[in-house]
Symmetry: C2
Subunit: 344 residues, 2 copies
DNA sequence: TGTTAGCACTCCAGGCGCTCGAGTGCTAAA
DNA sequence: TTTAGCACTCGAGCGCCTGGAGTGCTAACA
């Protein structure tokens, strides 16, 4: 384990390095008020810390730089999450007091605001709506064997699905179908839709609807909704280029490219089950992020995780500030959704 | 005006420069088969072309580089749009033969595919749906003075608006409102909605609905739909970083940043009224694009422009290929939408 | 035993000078 | 009008040097 003095030095090196983006030398550290030792002493400790793998040296006569292991130790043991600065807090609060009707709008807004506050790239996933309950189903025939199913949830979110069936159904049948659907299906979570429909509706429909197969086919397509991919909002991707570690375009390009593949984001995104998850460097699930850190958290609706917020940047990141902001935001977003769902 | 030989040389310089991304010298040009002159002759012509402003020289002993004026002349007078290469054509066609239900999906797909084909950044605007006709309106009350209006258009596109009114309307009134709406409003283009409603509905509603003010308020909010901002899809923004002119991060960052401001894109985007519009360098409406070229075209539905496709890259761009691809795509997309609207 | 001053050593960034080669403009000949 | 020849220019690239920041080690000190 590290001695308190080593911890103090490691901590100071990381915080300085995060600000300066340049290797930190013993002289510079000795100028800190809370470090009362001479450069020579600090050099000894730094040599030990390097031997243990918490620091590295770009070359012999340079200062020290935190290693991945160093950051990890810092995040796990040294970081004390304090209060966010007042200004940031006020600013964040104001985002959630605007009148907003659509949940997607809030997700987009959060991505933008956080990217401004952190000067990093922000990824917002979701919210998934498949745990919400159905309020109403509407089926609008378009002719030519097509129709649009409209599903309105609990919280006022609207999903639409285009459905096809092999032949024209009778207008009567469609009407019956919609009525039966609404009878049976209101209050069922979207993710349970398929199961409920097959369990409760099949027999009923067989009695009342003439073209039974068609009706089933329609149901089948309606049930595609829960299988939708998650929506992704990305804010401030261009902030990345301002970071000195990405001044070399070759470093930045693969990462921006990764972010453009919207569908695969949820494959590598850390889905922090509770609290905040920090993935440093090679801890990330894809090689493109081996020099990046992703800090992520979850927001909920009625206790159920419905989406995620993440901040992506170089490993040299202001962990403290970003974690404060994320923690606040996930909570505020959770509250917002709850308020939204109950009032809407 | 330029002599034929000058045109030949300018043309060759541009095409070589587009490929090599390096200043073109007289020796290299003399190696072209179609140029039968000695380097010395070419040098003389190049000096003239430079004097006239079609070429520039990075420094005294370097080759020549096309100026903005040079590109402009090339695009206006020298470019003969030939046939697209077979491979690209087949590939593009395949995009439009997939079964696709949602128009947005096709826009996103187009952005991605074109960015792969051109290795540039692609911007797809729209499609705007406000010239489409209404097929059906549905009003779903959420309680607490809120409701969701669902508007289904002609082509199967679904728009939803959240509306609020000051007090609870009677269930009867809502029903009446919906019935009256559907009677009067079907077949009206979304953009005409407000006018039609005020003209035809006010008196009718005054007779049939008890809380007249509330009904009007609802109508008012429903009419927000046409004022929605255009949807924007961007593909391959990271391609930009692969271009040598953006190897300096400082050049790329403001442009990527510009692309992130979705709302303002339509302010500077060239809305080619017909055919293809090419904006070279400073011709663009924003300074950030002073070293970029935007090539844009329009796609239509039923003769009416509903959206735009643009390719954004450095002024050193393969104008020929990009214009071929854009021209083909806009046509294919127009056909696709027409097919979609009539069948859907 | 832990801390610190002193010192020799290392190594990079950056400035300087040099050369090489690609490319030019000009002149004179074909 | 075209072209060969030639002197000239200029930047890229390489090697060299120097200054300074930072280190590790040793010896003295508390």
């Amino acid at each position: 384990m590290l001695t308190p003095r080593q911890q103090l030095i490691l901590s100071a090196i990381i915080e300085d390095y995060v600000r300066m983006a340049e290797p930190i030398g013993s002289r510079a550290l000795a100028k800190h008020e809370e470090i009362q030792y001479s450069p020579a002493t600090i050099r000894n400790e730094m040599a030990d810390l390097e031997e243990m793998g918490y620091l590295t040296q770009p070359h012999t006569s340079a200062g020290r730089v935190p290693s991945q292991k160093g950051y990890r130790f810092y995040v796990d043991n040294l970081l004390r999450l304090g209060q966010m600065d007042r200004e940031t807090g006020e600013f964040l609060k104001s985002v959630f007091t605007k009148r907003i009707d659509e949940v997607e709008q809030v997700a987009r807004e959060v991505a933008n605001v956080l990217s401004m506050l952190t000067k990093q790239t922000v990824i917002v996933l979701g919210p998934k709506t498949d745990t919400e309950k159905l309020r109403k189903i509407e089926l609008i025939p378009l002719g030519g064997g097509r129709a649009i199913a409209i599903l309105v949830t609990n919280s006022g979110h609207v999903e639409t699905v285009h459905v096809r069936f092999s032949s024209e159904m009778e207008a009567d049948d469609v009407e019956t179908l919609v009525r039966v659907l609404n009878d049976k299906v209101v209050g069922v979570p979207i993710s349970e839709l398929r199961r409920t429909l097959y369990a409760e509706l099949a027999s009923e429909l067989r009695r009342t609807v003439e073209r039974f197969e068609d009706a089933i086919a329609v149901l089948n397509e309606v049930c595609q909704v829960p299988e939708r991919e998650e929506t992704v909002f990305i804010g401030g991707a261009s902030n990345m280029l301002a970071q000195p570690e990405f001044h070399d375009v070759g470093k930045a390009q693969p990462i921006l490219s990764l972010l453009e593949q919207n569908e695969s984001i949820s494959n590598w995104f850390p889905k922090a089950e509770d609290g905040i998850e920090v993935r440093i460097g090679a801890e990330n699930a894809v090689v493109e992020l081996k020099d990046c850190t992703v800090i992520a958290t979850t927001y909920r609706l009625g206790g159920v995780p419905v989406g995620h917020i993440g901040v992506l940047g170089p490993t040299r990141m202001d962990y403290n500030r970003v974690m404060q902001i994320l923690s606040f935001t996930s909570q505020a977003l959770t509250e917002f959704l709850t308020r939204f769902a109950s009032s809407g």
